[in-house]
Symmetry: C2
Subunit: 346 residues, 2 copies
């Protein structure tokens, strides 16, 4: 190996925090005080509201350290929270990160994790303004809080969908789940024969969707450019099925989705076939695509119909009609709550 590794206890908590929090430039003028005091201070502009979300990633539950590079993990931990802000149509501005790490992690590995955090901060122009770094008895736990701003009238909630409105998604679906499936298979192969090299070529896209997801914070500008105000919105973190359930229940409506309107990347369809999986089921139940699911007025159809980042996949019905999907063969299925439940895997 030839590399030097530093244990965390060698340098101590304060030195570790110092090392990992340097080189985080300030991107937002609203960041008055960041790391280094009892709390961070953010300036608030008149007529802006603060939008805030927090999520936790747990080793062995949300990620497998065997095939998750720490840099990607740090990056993803930030992005999944920014995705929640994007789902409110808010502009992300600051994040706080708490991590608990066991002593088997080296200082260098934690620096790698924070490299990923730094890259995400740069790409999304958010400031790391605080957090806590502590030890854990086992494994790695990352908790991220993301803060954003939006004018009151810009914020899009889950509960604004109503009958006859159109259901849209950004980007394409199912990729993150297939990327995970591929990584899980290669891990099994590797555990059986340590000399086997993982066969990942040609599937960079689904792997990237799993390991280095994108938060659709770009949609805020796209909506503005299209002069389009979605009536409701949610991000697809648990799978289309689960997330459309949330949206419909909170809006007290039903929906009809068309399977043949679901957007897929060609490499995702190819990989699904390779695993004998149904692409649509990957989109419905896979999760982690971090695309946005939103509804618009029917009269806004012209604004989105030719947009490369937006697919119209169905329409809103009355609550009594339930949440349905018409399959490519004409059959109609129920979209019952089958989203990923981390507890059932515990």
């Amino acid at each position: 190996m030839g590399q030097n590794f530093t244990t965390i206890s060698e340098i101590g908590e304060f030195e570790l925090i110092k090392r990992i929090t340097t080189e985080f430039p300030k991107n937002q003028t609203s960041t008055i005080a960041g790391i280094g005091d009892d709390a961070a201070v953010i300036a608030t502009e008149n007529l802006q509201q603060t939008v805030v979300t927090s999520d936790m990633l747990v080793e062995g539950v949300h990620f497998d350290i065997v095939y998750t590079p720490l840099k990607h993990l740090g990056y993803k931990a930030v992005v999944v929270n920014l995705s929640d802000l994007a789902a409110m149509n808010a502009k992300p501005t600051q994040i706080l990160i708490n991590i608990a790490i066991s002593s088997r992690y080296t200082v260098e590995s934690i620096e790698e994790l924070y490299d990923g955090v730094r890259i995400a901060c740069e790409e999304y122009k958010v400031d790391l303004i605080g957090g806590d770094t502590t030890s854990s008895k086992s494994g790695l736990v990352i908790s991220v809080t993301a803060i954003g701003v939006a004018k009151s009238e810009e914020i899009i909630y889950r509960n604004g969908a109503s009958k006859n409105q159109l259901v849209c998604v950004t980007g394409d679906l199912g990729g993150a789940f297939l990327g995970l499936t591929l990584l899980e298979r290669e891990k099994r192969v590797f555990l059986e024969d340590g000399n086997m090299q993982p066969a990942l070529e040609g599937f960079e896209y689904p792997l990237q969707r799993q390991l280095r997801p994108t938060a659709r914070t770009d949609m805020r500008l796209i909506f503005e450019t299209l002069n389009l105000i979605p009536t409701s919105m949610i991000d697809i973190s648990d799978g289309l099925s689960s997330d459309i359930n949330h949206l419909c229940i909170q809006s007290n409506v039903g929906c009809m989705i068309f399977e043949n309107k679901l957007p897929f990347d060609p490499s995702v369809i190819e990989l699904a076939a390779k695993f004998n999986l149904n692409s649509s089921l990957c989109a419905l139940n896979g999760g982690e695509d971090y695309e946005l699911l939103f509804t618009i007025q029917q009269s806004d159809f012209e604004k989105v119909k030719n947009h490369p980042d937006i697919s119209v996949i169905g329409f809103i019905t009355e609550a009594s009609e339930g949440m349905k999907m018409e399959l490519a063969d004409g059959n109609i299925i129920d979209l019952s709550m089958k989203g990923w439940n981390s507890f059932s895997e515990a």
Copy 2:
């Protein structure tokens, strides 16, 4: 036992979140949207700044489930974050909580934890507006983010102390550490003989300081009433020694503290004697008292000298003079950085 226990997987993540987040009344008019969407929304008032902090409590590192009732733990997890806001002289308004729990915890135990969170929210008039509940492979991890507000000119940073100013603390010190020492001893006794009942009588105060600490959010009003603006402030979470180091280093000053000015509760002195411990060392290195350490102009001495909640314990010197404490016997010691480091215990 006769009680029914419910496993988390029996009811699932969404039902669990529903159960634990009901009965959280709204205390703050600034809370526009709380739990139930992709993110929470907070109204911001003109001329107010947002103050935000986040901390993580890890089973086996920050708490021992053997002697920490879950209700107290939930309460404490909130309070330690509100203490950070108090240390900025901000008014706490909202919190978010992420928890990771292993499947050995029952639904009822998590409800107990949230009972403590709810009591803290009621007492401090803050709103629970979000968070994440997920599984962990082992143990319990709680991450709390607390949000508060203050006018720009009200916020007190760590870096405002200067030469000849007076060093003050609120309340009394050392109690939380002695409460912990007592709990640790009783745990050892119990492990040796399971029939022994813990001998905790007469020491309710230090036990309460450890298990049910207080955030000094009341000081904001006291400062206002006294027409007093501290020049710098920090909360005592790691121990007086460590925290005065932070304050002095960030203010680029030194200090002289007088041992015989340190405030102690009589029960704390009694308990320290019982354990053959030096009360002053408990105050310096124990931590978790969550009192406020702050500096004031010398000319403000009259305002604080008779206040029952404030003790003047020393004064600020030049950085070159270092951080010192004059002992009761006249000897002078260095207050070097000896604060609690969670990594060295990992």
